[in-house]
Symmetry: D2
Subunit: 401 residues, 4 copies
């Protein structure tokens, strides 16, 4: 069982929840960086599925380099307009021919981008508010990997790479994550004036949590400055209520703090995102694979979104380590915090990492030794099923940003 190089050891130090200062950030769905992450990942899923449909396996590709160049807009109460379109360039590599079958990789990418924009950004008109271009080169032919229905064999690691995951989320992390998700979910369903570009910063000092929300407001739903103020107030109340369900600490919520009502400088947009006016974006610059930016925790610099889920070891290990961390915490009692780190070994199957490192803080009264075997078994099981990660990524079941 132990040829997977699993190590379990205690953290020397405090759990993040117990540290004095904690900083957490989430760039929401419509932040220009996240928008690139989302398109890159959606394109990746579409390519993977099409490869399987057409040739029975996933071929070599990577689409993790989408670049967004901001447009300009003239938002106005009651509805403004986009002046210069947002420009979005999907770049990367994709196999365009295999065994005599041509694969329309660029068309697939454009359709996936349209689908993603249309589903997630009701105020961005594909093709006019945003121009989406694509330049997919062909990579090296010898990098073609096999991942199909017949043969889910475990691929070899072709790079020295690293993934890291944590569980459970701290209160502050949970609040930051849920604030964005619910504002962009059930709240905006009923309050369409709340745009998709929502950035949430959480800062905890001891027992006091500050949640700072910057939310793009959609001009067509806001008639005047009074309605704007009401919209902001509505967000604040919603987030206060939401935060209270996750913590007993003191929470202060700030929304659009850079607004200046007197000089009319407010965060009003036509499209619901700052990409309409001056804010560029690209893949891998924002949230890590668990949806957060957490300087208090060990992070990987890998861009997870858009990478090939069959053979990109950084993507797989970042997602897998997060899955393992949550699995362990869910199945084993007595863990206050766990970090899973996976380091690949070139030339070895990816289910056999160079190191699989579980570092944990236990609850009072529990020793690492008490639960080490349980943890090992879970880590081993998850590594054994590493190709499940690939399948779930392709099926769109795992988020990458």
């Amino acid at each position: 069982m132990t040829d997977r190089n699993i190590r379990v050891e205690p953290v020397v130090g405090r759990a993040v929840e117990a540290q004095d200062v904690e900083i957490v950030e989430r760039k929401g769905l419509g932040h220009p960086d996240s928008l690139c992450d989302g398109i890159a990942e959606h394109v990746s899923q579409a390519l993977a599925r099409e490869y399987i449909d057409r040739v029975g396996k996933v071929l070599h590709y990577n689409t993790d380099e989408t670049q967004l160049v901001a447009g300009s807009a003239a938002p106005a109460f009651g509805g403004g307009e986009v002046i210069d379109p947002i420009y979005l360039l999907i770049t990367g590599r994709a196999t365009k021919e295999y065994g005599g079958t041509r694969i329309p990789a660029e068309t697939i990418a454009l359709r996936a981008a349209r689908e993603y924009i249309t589903e997630n950004f009701p105020f961005i008109d594909f093709g006019t508010d945003v121009v989406v271009d694509v330049r997919l080169g062909e990579g090296s032919g010898d990098l073609q990997e096999v991942f199909g229905e017949d043969g889910k064999q475990v691929p070899m690691s072709n790079d020295t790479s690293f993934g890291v995951g944590h569980a459970p989320l701290t209160e502050t992390e949970t609040i930051v994550l849920e604030t964005e998700r619910q504002l962009n979910g059930r709240y905006s369903d009923e309050n369409p004036g709340v745009g998709q570009d929502i950035k949430v910063m959480g800062k905890r000092e001891g027992e006091a949590i500050d949640v700072t929300v910057a939310a793009a407001i959609v001009d067509r739903y806001v008639a005047d400055i009074d309605e704007y103020e009401e919209t902001i107030a509505g967000i604040r109340t919603f987030v206060e209520d939401l935060a209270a369900t996750y913590t007993d600490r003191d929470v202060t919520v700030h929304v659009n703090t850079a607004d200046n009502y007197e000089d009319g400088s407010i965060y009003l947009t036509t499209t619901g995102t700052s990409a309409e006016q001056g804010d560029d974006g690209s893949v891998g610059r924002g949230n890590r694979a668990n949806g957060l930016i957490t300087p208090n925790r060990s992070m990987s610099m890998e861009a997870t979104s858009g990478k090939n889920p069959v053979n990109h070891i950084g993507k797989i290990y970042n997602l897998l380590s997060t899955e393992i961390a949550h699995a362990v915490v869910g199945e084993v009692a007595g863990i206050e915090e766990i970090r899973i780190r996976l380091l690949s070994q070139i030339g070895q199957p990816i289910d056999r990492p160079h190191v699989a490192d579980a570092t944990l803080v236990t609850e009072d009264g529990i020793e690492v030794d008490d639960i080490e075997a349980e943890i090992r078994a879970i880590v081993d099981r998850e590594l054994e099923n590493v190709t499940d990660i690939t399948q779930r990524v392709i099926d769109g079941e795992l988020t990458t940003f």
Copy 2:
């Protein structure tokens, strides 16, 4: 009345209809060059209308430089697909701010392009089969011209330019023009397998007319090679019948002569245009303002499509001279052929050309002197109403290619 420098004189030589050899060509709606012409002109109309709506007059712009870069496709009986999208770059100049009002010129251009593609090209999916990008710079501010509801004053000519028009069309010209228009009109309405990219070449030697049609066939409507042959045969019959209504000469019709059924080399497309596979295009490379390429006649090299109809003297004079020629032939009896040539004079109002030159071949028994006064009066009247051309261009009533 005669400060318009109108001259009327006989042609020394034969009318085109009487010459031994005549060559005529028309690049149809879906030819890559015409596609660029059409978008450039549609963008121009949209800009002109928006300027009038927003600031009450047409501001400086020129959008006569659309470039199309071909894609690649894999057409197949029953329906193939686009592999790499067509790329279309709308370039030119447009005023983006006037008296504090911002004009979303690029958004207007993109919307016009989408509208044009959607209306005319049922098999091209905007945004995925074709990527449309736009780069409209701002021109010199001092070129702003006034053309609005209040003041339809006649602008000054700011260039030495030249326009030429002819009437009536010869039989060969008529057949070439009508072949394309009707194939792309009532025929394709009932025969959707006929794509938009239809190129027609007419060649007359004495009394024998050859009509050569190259028509892109749409793969989804053609199940196999037999249906393809039927489609080709259908076109041939239609064109033969059509031609017979315009001439008593012998007409031979050739359709898709480059096809080679044995090696499977046929003109099958997914989108109905050769732009999907290797044929680039740009504005002003194809049809002249009267819809034809006529080496037997005097032609202007000006690209008419996309030019500003208020102050671009080449555009106005090419359209106006054609209008005048048709007006003269329609109103004055006894004319076999007339050519109107307008040459501008820098610094003078455009209704006062340097020369307005009417050269004609009269029917037997008619002398130029007999009808000169009538012709002069028409030329004078049309020049006086030169701004009508501008209005009709903006309203989309005049074709430019």
Copy 3:
């Protein structure tokens, strides 16, 4: 000898030199359209040579679609600067692999563009004043043509196309052509303040010729408005003297007539071309293959520059017909004007046109019959040596615009 379908016949009408009104134009080397022509043709020559070097024959390509998007500049006496670079997109088709040999078509194109800019445009800095991008798709594999050292076989015509040439040039044509060439040649060698963007319009009414020159002046060589005026005066004198060597008619020379010294509106540039400020350009929109735009003469709409000289029938026939016209006039006495028209026949070798049509005006005392045999022999000889045109194009010996 006569399977080449050669026809020789008199023009019914007057020679252009004898017509009342004649209009001629030339867009000089640095006009945005000509700049595109020049790059397209230089790229074409480079590709052809590299194909021969690398695989022994010219492969399929066409690079006749270069698009220039104007920049913006702030010219100033003594030297201004480019604000936004000119953008130049080289598009077209090129074979990138042949028999296992990869051909760096895009690199070849970029190098050729740099070479062309550097040699001809001393005030345009490649890569910073102008951004040159390239998108060369691959065409259909079956279009590969053979033109190499071993086998200069005559290719088949794959299109119905048309070429036309004239000789000799009229006085007005000669003056227009030479004005631009010498201003851009020996004159600017000694007067570097004269930029490359020189547009010349000639208009003859009876015995009076107007030559209108629009010349971009290079700011770094002009210290103030007085020096500017001197520069303009120098050009005027030079052109007057030059014109006098070609005609005894009255010639009036106008230079930069749109200038307005009072409001400081003059034609001052930093780079020597209007592409720096608002004037876009593309291939095939300007001069015909003989270097001129001549509405008094039959013209082909084909873009000659950038086309493949081995198999593009329009390019070959336009160049060849011009060569034939000049050869005939040079070798046969008694011709006032000759027009050569070549019409291709699909599926036949290009040295056997459908029609080779020589139409001429003879001098007094000479009948067409007297010289028909001589003319036929020359036409026949030139058609026989049609592949020489290809070789000379590749060697850069023939101009195309």
Copy 4:
């Protein structure tokens, strides 16, 4: 003195040098991500200097979004060639007009890019091996900041942002950093076959350090596979010797481990970088501001390169915190490891952070209390001189990646 919210406290846990497993990575100068970082930062410096030269202060800009799209190449022993050029798009925001003065921001950017490529990449030919395009939009006018010779006032923080720095580097970090710098410095000066794209991964487990180098080899300097092997061996020896000067631990050096000599799969390049063949890149995806990727340490996700050094709080705080950390370690005895964290406070001057957090591990026998006052004084002094960071960035004295 203490309105800067400085806190000094011990780390709860071990110094990184004392942890069991340590992972460190550096993407060298020629890695596609670093290449983008370098151009973005060089463009930023050039803009800042030009703004100061032209209008006396730094205006609003951000150029932190350069995107590189890989080309393709055919490397070969003795010298291969680039097939398709690398494409590099510089995007971002820049003020183009100020008080009537036009600033040629795009030209400045292109010149800076050319300068950077030419100085650092001897095997990349600007304009042909790499096409550099630029799209700099104009940001909001009200974001213009003042930083000039007259008034180096401390700007206000306009965002909640975070910077972190560490000192000293661990042995493994030092080896990784120095390996790349010296290979790209004195070693490649004498061994030009070593390209600029050098990636170094360091992994320490207890007392064993593995250094894995992936170095692009330049084909023109390598005649055959034997010379390639010699080149690799030379690098290995050099790195082994270099590492030994920084540590007494066991060091194993691996170079180009993915090579497979048997099937000819080696890391040979024409340009010295993997951008020539399939590896895209963008800003902020690679090294953090201290030149390293250190998952064992707290990291900021901010892209530092290309950001405006006057007012971008993330850039300033990342650089400043690193400077402070090194200053403290250099001036105060007894510190094993220190981490400085700066968190901004919206609306406050940036020299007054919300928190300035110094966390340290002291050497045996030293208590934090012993040195707290010294540390506070240094942190305070450095914060007071925060604008020095801006000046040094503009002068190119601080590296950002």
